[in-house]
Every structure is written in structure tokens, then in C-alpha cells.
Subunit: 510 residues, 2 copies
Amino acid sequence: MKFKIKEIKIDAGELTVILNNKDAKDMGVRSLDRVKLITAKKTITAVVELSSSVVKEGHVGVLLKVFEELKTCDTDTVEIMPTERPHSVELIKHKIEGKTLSAEEIREIVVDIAAHNLTDIELTAYVVACQLNGMNLDETTYLTKAMVETGDTIELDRSPVFDFHSIGGAPGNKITLLVVPIVAAAGLLIPKTSSRAISSACGTADIFETIARVSLTKEEIKNITETIGGVIAWGGNVNFAPADDIIIRVEYPLSLDPYSQLIASVMAKKKAVGADFFLLDIPIGPGTKVTETELANKYASDFIEIGRRLDMHVECAITYGGQPIGKHIGPLLEAKEALMCLEGKAPSTSVVEKSVAMAGILLEMGGMHNGKQIARDILDSGKALEKFREILQAQDGNPDLKSEDISPGQYKAEILSSIDGYVISLDNKKLVRIARTAGSPRDKGAGLVFLKKRGEKVDRGESMYEIYADNQHKLDAAVNLTNLIKPYTIEGMIISHVPGRGRATNYSKH
Amino acid sequence: MKFKIKEIKIDAGELTVILNNKDAKDMGVRSLDRVKLITAKKTITAVVELSSSVVKEGHVGVLLKVFEELKTCDTDTVEIMPTERPHSVELIKHKIEGKTLSAEEIREIVVDIAAHNLTDIELTAYVVACQLNGMNLDETTYLTKAMVETGDTIELDRSPVFDFHSIGGAPGNKITLLVVPIVAAAGLLIPKTSSRAISSACGTADIFETIARVSLTKEEIKNITETIGGVIAWGGNVNFAPADDIIIRVEYPLSLDPYSQLIASVMAKKKAVGADFFLLDIPIGPGTKVTETELANKYASDFIEIGRRLDMHVECAITYGGQPIGKHIGPLLEAKEALMCLEGKAPSTSVVEKSVAMAGILLEMGGMHNGKQIARDILDSGKALEKFREILQAQDGNPDLKSEDISPGQYKAEILSSIDGYVISLDNKKLVRIARTAGSPRDKGAGLVFLKKRGEKVDRGESMYEIYADNQHKLDAAVNLTNLIKPYTIEGMIISHVPGRGRATNYSKH
């Protein structure tokens, strides 16, 4: 049947068209079935949704991704035929059944994901099956390769190329904003792409976009790296391992990230920029993605092995992530703290120490001796700040930006301690929930500032932390949540008080 | 923020609204996030999709299910606020993590499913997690109860109430059209609700709707059963265990049906009509849902145990389903064959024998002796046909309908044998794929007629089976598929021919 094309500006995840109920019935097509759209120039497979009002009979409603494909065809009509679902859905079922997939089978799934050929239902089945049944190292290697091959890649004009990545879970981990300028200032190439937050409070791309343009093209990433040595780009704007960004659409609402998918996703993005040397930061501790040393070691050895199979030299650093890194979380707040560290005005030592240590390992992977000292010298000398300003300028930021120019959200609440004591712990997951409730990462000014961290003394009535938000309603919601879930544990100074009659230990949760 | 309501006639699975990109950004809301819609009369939670053209700024596009909720509120504007995803999503994650869920937790998930509060992604995660991690008998019982409680129920004016159900996988299993009139003619109450095909070629509702109205209200189901003794209704039209119908939306595209979900779904629909005695048919054999006797026995004992916990007497019949039941598959073709059996013109004995055996067990559960003989007498005497005509009439069908009045699709292909031999097997799954490709169950005339079944002799050039379709394109596709996957295996009469030099066994697949 021939249909008249009607553009509908909704960006559904998969390739979707809307048919009038009556036309669909005539064709024997149901909601979520596949159809082929045939023009003289190309054939596109799309998923069907039904409507009785959005499109008239004889018309087909074409959503954004399909419209982009069709508009190159110089036609306002299209032939539509029912077709079967992709074979990759059968392969996803094999993974549900616990089977091991071959290189070709994994490639078939990834090709369909990258081409937006799978529905949310099918993608979710894939993710949950990988979460539960896993993939072995062979499968993970195939997955990585397929993810690289189905996307763009860049090749810098010289080598070697360096890169690094932190596995998530440690809030406030803004070290990329220090590591990249330090490494670049040392003369190495580091084309760093970062992600936005999935389930965390804030990703590096969320942070850096508050002060620079992170939506760079692959040519810009190549050119800026070749010129300046480093770049801090949002990975989602380029087509590196695009399957990953599509999978994230279903991982995000479930806060799921299967083991094999995590490895393949990181490795594919590094391979796509041509990394020869890659340092992986694995923060461990309560509330991080990797809570146990044993699992961290497994990740480390699997990353290293898959690196070997991909001709990439991988090293891993297992770091402490049991409480937030530094004192700020949230997009603007983290940009501010990173800049303070580069300016030599660090509000605490943890961001600086971690950044210098990581940059140091990278420098040593690049053949330098005493990398950590070199990294520290680069930071202390102001060369890292200078390189950061070059990167800012190359990415359309203000190169004269100072940390005091950056202000968080205008709605603020202070959370006070109700007792005297020492801070025993800050609960990462609870803090992330509070920051997200306050609006982070979408509301750029939202976030938390920790006035007290683990081990510090706090007096009754003293501020433990501040919550910032861009609007009152979200601030209220975050304050309500903090009262409910109490992310701080304070141990009273009086550990045990033995009066005339026995009494419980004076121990209170905040 | 206040929004003007715009109705959009798309029937998405979950409660969905469409916001203009700019409004969503202002509110910090992303695609697939939740919002609350607040009117003076009620508050509804919905999932957000974004568009730049379907709705203008300040307007909210309201899809069918939400519009039905809102239209009772006598307002054309609504207040919208971001809100968190339902807690049941966390509980689904617990199931992904392999945890056992409590009665209250399962109820929370089912309540959200029934209220259309979960997205396709979340529903799929639930189904795949249940498929892989399973539910124990306690959880399955809680699930069944929650599914009953979140839907409508009926109570007949007298008891006991009888019911039966076949687990899927045996194509052509049209016995409901015989069992219900036989049991009702014997004076028992049998308010039978049936489903449409999910992954099979054709469900009982697909069959019976070709000759009667199956979309009955619960009052009609009650009244017809009380008056006539039996009814054959589509379960999807009534609100019995509605969570099940919502889950099917994601099970169908994946052809998944988790063990616990299958039990709960069947038991909940039986409990909802107040069944006191329930007979379950478990067809086994290659290509059925339950292929092994061991699994059939496990299903049987679990169904019986859950029946015990729900005060329902359950018996199970494990039957042979390794090839299609009877000679026809497809909606009109199965209606025709069932009517032929009732008229005493059965094209083969298998439909009659199975129906009489199943009805016989139900009669014995009802206290009759020699149930099978009574069932056969009712069929042979024409009383079952008479009762069937009463049911037809009560459901707005033509009570004078004769089997010869029912014609399948006008496009037909005969599939011939290329050798002489005996039919070794008919592959259920392949036959289902062919029937579905021909258009079944949506195209009512589509289906297959088996001229030869297992064990029968077929000559070279003789018809083995016929494919029917309602249009040429689907017939061609089905014929192409049959040539590719060859659902019949014919063993050549010459089992082994030993000529002067060794030669391979003359064995050919059709």
C-alpha cells in the first residue's frame, strides 16, 4: 500500500512510524509489529504504533529518526509492507536461555541496536539477559569490536594516544578536569570523551558543559587534541560506539549496567579514539559501583585481558571511593571545585591527590620516570591551569573564567547536626539520591557541598552539608529526603556513658 | 506549571503524556521520566515523551489512557510536576538481583502494572527477571492473589463452578468449542474465558470470534453462564486479572512466558470467575510449550498446590501435543473443524477423542461416574451441538450456522510431497511460523489444512497440506517459508538401498 508521509516531531528511541488503526488492520499489522518502508532510493524497517487521530487513513506518521532517513529520498509517498522482526531478537532470546553467542551473532545484535532497529522491549530483554546470564571474555571482546565497528573512529596525526576512565559510583569524581590538562601539559595526547550521568549525580560531560561546549564533532576532537594535546568532550555527541548510547536509554530508567556491557562500552569508546595506553580508575568502597576488592580485581584483570586482545595497553588503579571525592557534587559545583584545584585553592586535598596520582601513572605509562612528581609540578606551576584555559577556549568557554565566577543554584538549605560528634560515614548512594532530587544533573546549579567529611568533628547545630537547587520545589523535596534517609552517620563523642542504671550507647544516625 | 490539555489518540501501553521539549527542559524532565498531573478531582502519574511539533509550549499531549482518566475531571488545564519513578521499579530490581519478594512487594508491582504505571522497559525487566530468576510457590501464590485483587471478579448465582484451560503449544487445539457445550449440556456451570494467540497460530478467542461475539462484559459472562451453563468469552475484554493482559504486551514481541507468570496468569483468571474445580490440559511433545514429561509433572504439582492454597480443586491432564490437534489451524478453519466435530462430521478422531476425554474428567470432578462415556453420549446425541447453538445465539452468532457455511481465505496453495513415503513428523513450531506468516491469527481466513498427518502414507506429487491466506502477498511469503523450513518429515519407503557401491540412506526432509 502507498502512504503519504507526515512528519511527526517526536524522538522515539527506535525507528517508529504511526499508522491509522484502519490501515493497520487492513494490512494485518499490530502495535509493535515491523513494517518495511520502500522508496525508489531505500528501504527502511520501522516499528508500528497505532492512532486514530494523529494520522488519517492513507497517511503514515513518521517520527524523527525515520524522517531523517526518508527526507533524502525526494518523495512524499512511501510503499509500506509488513515484515518480520529482526533475527537479532531470536539471538537475544538465546542469551535469555543462557547460550553463549558467537562473534557473528553478537555483531548482528549490535548492528541492529546501532541502526535503531530494536524496540525498548527488545533492548531491555538484551540488557537484563546480559545482567543475569553474563558474557564470557570472548563474547565481551566480540561485543567491544562490534561496538567499535558500528560507529565512527578517529585517528590522530601522531601516536601514542593516552586515555583514562573512572568506573562510576564515587560521587564528586571531577578529576578529569585536572588529569586531562596535566597529561596534555606534559606533552602527551589525551582525547578524552566522557559521559553524562546515568544513575549517578553528575557525569564529567554534565560538569564541563556548564563552562564549555562539550558537544564536539569528531573532527573537533581530533583537531583540538592534535593542537592542544587534550580535549574534554561529551561522548554522546559523536558516533563512537553508538550502540552504547542506545542501550543507555533502557539502562538509565532501571539503573542497570551489566558487567560485560560496562567493559565493552568503556573499551569500545577508547578504541574508537585510537587509545594505545589506557588507565582505568576503579573506585571501591560502600556505595560505589564496585564495592569489593575482589570484584575490582576481576574487573582489572578482564579489562587488561580485553585490552591485550585489542592491542591496547591497559593499567588499572583501584582507588578509595567510599565517600565523595572532594567537597562538591553537582554540575556547577564540581566545575567550581575543579577550577579551585587548578588555581591552587583546593577546598580539600582529595581531588588534587587523586588527580596527581592518576596523571602520574599515565605519564609513567608514557615512559616518564617519577610521573606523580612531574604531575604535581605541572599542577603547582600553573601549567595545568594554563592548559585547562587553552582547552576551555578551544571549546568555546571563557578562558579567563575564575572559580569565584561560578555560582551554584540560588536555593540553598543547610543541614545541621543535632549532636556533637565525629563523622563516621557519608553514604554515597543516599547523597546521590539527594543530589538528584535537588535536580542534579539536569539542573546545573543543583548539588551538595560537604562542610564535614569522614573523621571530622562536628558540633551540635553546626552545618554538615549544604543542598543547592535551581528551584524551591526541588530543594524542598531534597530536604525532605535528607530528613528521611539521613546520609551522614555521626558518632557521639560520648561512646559509652555508664550511669547508675544501665543505658543504651549514645549513638545516633544523621 | 499549568498546561492546556490536548487529546492525542495514540494508545501507548503505559500512561503517557507528550510535553514540548522546551517546557520539559524548564521543568528538568527527560524522556521516560515521570510527572504528576494534578486536577481538582484527581492526580495521575504519567510517563513523559518529548516533541517539538505535536504539542506547543504550554500544552500537554494526553494519550488515550490518560485522557480517559482526565476527561472525568471537567477541566481543560492541568498542573504538571516532576515526580520519582514508582517504588515497584526498585522491587523489580530486587528480582533482577535474585531476591525473593514478599506478598506486599509483589502486590505493589502488580498494582502498578494494573494501573499502567510501568513503562515497557520496566515491564520487560520484570518479565525477563522472572524468566531467569523465577518465583517460588509462595511468590507465585502472592502473584496470583494480587492479580485477582487488582481486577474484577464474578460470582455466579450457584456453585460449584467448573473451568478448564490448555497450556499452549499444541497448534489446532480447538477443543474448548467442544468441551464447553458438552460440560454445559451435562448441567454443569463453565464460564470459560480464553485468550488470543500470543506466539501461537491461533487462540480460542481468535477462533470463536469468527462466528460469535467474544467481547462480552462480565455481566454477560455471568448471565449467559447462569442461563445456558456455558460461555466462550475473550478474557481480554473483561477486567479479570488485568495485569496479565498488560504483561502480555511485552511478552508477545519476545515470545516469552515465565513459569511463575504462566501459572499465576491462568490461576488468577480462573479464580476471578470463581472456579471451584479446574482441569488443566498440559500438552507435551516436540514444539509444545512443555516439551518434557518431567516439566509437565512439575507444572501439574505446582498448579495443584497453588490451587490448594486458593481453595480450588485442580486436576491436570498431560496430553499428547507433539503434532497439531485435528486437521485445521487458523481462526476460520478451526471454527469449521470444531463445528464439523459437533455435527458428527469430524475430519479426524483426535479433536473428538481429546474433547470427550477432557469433558469426561470435568464431569467426574463434578461427581458423575463414567464421565467420558457421558461426554461421548452428549456429543453423539447432538446435545452438545444444540448447546453450542445456544451459546452461539447468546453471543450474537448465527445459531443455524453449519460447518459448510464457513470458508477459509480465498488464496490457497497446496504443498506436494516430492517423494513416496510415510509422514514421520509435523513440526509444530515450523507450522505455527507458516500459519502466522500466512496471516493467522489476525487474518481470519489464514491457516493450514493437513491432508496427511503422522504415520500416514503420502505419494510423490500428492498434497501433504494446504496453506490458506486472505491475500496473495502473505500466501507467497508462507509458501516461501515452507520451502525454506520444511515442516514435514517424510521417510522414504526405501529405508536402505544397498547397490554395488555404498550409498547414503535415502532419507529426505520435507
